[in-house]
Amino acid sequence: MKESSLPSHIVLIDDDSVTNMVNKKIIYITFPTIRVTPYADAAIALRDLKHWEATDATQLPDLIFLDINMPHMDGWEFLDEFITLSEAVLQKTKIVMLTSSVDINDIAKSKTYKPVTDFLSKPLNKDNLRTVLQYQSV
């Protein structure tokens, strides 16, 4: 795998701090060079994305791991806001759903959002991380 095809920045959005901690660690173990930014609140993640969009597009993540069931703003609400961002953001940033849900309705619904490229079941591990990243890089 070429280093250049790897994403440089990944954002994690999950209300469970343990999950974020574990996922960050796994990404670090697998691809230590990737910058990882975890968020417990989707609204704050969205705020930062808008900030990067406005100030420095290079800061924008290549990939977001997004949970669905979250208080305050859930995954769907986040997606609804995300798709209203500029074309530059949508071109660069892809989204992978990472959730404990096994509901096929959720899988079907996620596919209606263009930026969503994959749907993963928790927990994230080295294997599915590699698979997703290869996919992302193509």
Partner: protein
Amino acid sequence: MPLRNLKKPVFIGVGMFLVLTALTQFLVYFWYQSARYTEIQRLSNQANAKKERVHITLTNTLSSIRTLAFIVEEHGIPNDFDRIAEKLLKVNPLVDAIELLQGGVITHVYPVNGNEAAIGYNVLSDTIRHRGALIALRRKDFFFAGPVKLKQGGIAVIGRQPIFINGKFWGFAAVLIKLSGFVKATGIDADSNPDFRYQLSRVHPDGYEEFFLPAPAIPNEGDFVTIEVPNTEWKLYVTSLNQNGIYHHALVLCTLGLLFSTVVGIFSWYTAAQPEKLERLVDRRTSQLTMEKELSDSIINSLPGIIYIYDKDRKFFRWNRNFESVSGYTSEEVKDMHPLDFFEGEDKELLRNKIETVFQKGQADVEAYFYTRNKEKIIYYFNGNVAQFDGNTYLIGMGIDISKRVAAEKDIQNLNARLQATIERLQARNNDLQQFSYVVSHNLRNPIARILGLASIFGDDINENKVVVEKIAEATAQLDDTVKDISTIVSARNVTEKYEYISFSDEWKNVRNTLKDEIDQSKAVISVDFSEAPGITSARSYINNMLYNLVSNAIKFRTPGVPAVISVKTKIHKHGICIIVEDNGIGIDLAKNGTKIFGLYKRFGPESIPGKGIGLCLTKNQVESLHGKIEVTSTPGKGSTFTIYLPTA
């Protein structure tokens, strides 16, 4: 029958022919006779007229010979016989010659010229010709003899006047009249009258008739009249040319009469045959109609439904046997009934309209209860059609007993309703279960995923490993809680408890005790009213839990800074009782959350308010396991009302 039919017109025809023939022939015969009679009358008249004329003509000539006879009687034979004779001839031009006979011998004749042969001829000695002279002698008066062939030639009529001197026969004075001149003078020649024909005969003593005029002497056919001419031996015959005309006329009339009779006979036969033909036609049509009626009768009687026909006045005209057997009315009764007599209640008005519709639009159908004589009602499907026959408008109706179908339909409807209710219940249950399984899978997988994730980062870093193990322990505890919750919810769906009578006020006391701290802390004002429905036979712990959860939620989600006012009451409703818990709390946006509020681990309202999202889910499951249902109405900022409907056994 057919023989009679065939004979009768022929009889009439022939009879008519015969009668008319007889009548016409008789009439013709009668006419013929009368025409003949008229003709004979005419002939007689003519004959008399002619006889008179002949008589007068002869008498006129008589003066000549009388004058001569007088001269001889007074003076003897005149010396100047020729001069006297000449004068006499001048007076009477018809006379051709005058003779004087002494005894029977012609002594003088004038004119002598042409008559010389007569001198010296003794008429009395001529046995063939002396008859006329002898008759005159016997009569002692004149007599016309002849016509005779003259000694001197020619045919003439001779009138002789006997002359007596001193009572002693002396001789005759005679005149000669040529027949041709006589005929002309009397007008009995063929030329003088085209209409009549005459014949003159001299009747001899032996009866032999001598005819003098040209043929035909006597008409061979037809009528003629004869008349004797006085002072002669003559018979005058008169006939007419008209004779054949009458006969031919009669013949033509005969033929016409025969023709007429034949025509009338044939016409009569034909006319007489018409009714027979018509009758035969009618017979044939009648038998056809009878057959058709029998056929239609057997059809309408064999049909399963009831059939009836009535007119615009709603008077029954025909109906089938089924109509009587179903309705229980006799044929006599139906006759006087009105179609609406078979219906009652609302159906009566409905039928009235439908019947009107049939008469106006031609067709209508309806389902209605048909009432029999015994007031038994049977649901029927009626179909009415309008029909025109015999110049009248009728309604032809058919009714089919649909009670079985209607019963089956009702069964199906009931079944469908039950099925629909079951489907709805099952769908709701399925929805609930899906939600439940979704939440369960999420809440089970969440800690498991966390444990798996934590285990995967367990490594060399001892400090980190310590945190990982702690987190694994936490997740495992969470997993345990979830399993316990699920077990609680699932067990709530099957009532294992005994049903007993529960007094709401008693049970409320227990709940109030349990919630004592929360009530005191929140200073909530709770009013209770169980007067309408004081108790229920049910599962005690379920009722307890319902009151607990609803009231504890009402306290928990009170509007900050406003004293909680909560009302708990029971009421009676259609199928049982209901428990109503009303608050003035923060309310729920139902448009957004809908029935999710009853889902497992569904939490609404601020994060600060503790709770797992179990209470309402458990309550809903318990209500449903008691075959009840729970509803909520709410206005955000104003408050919520939860109503639990419970059926009473």
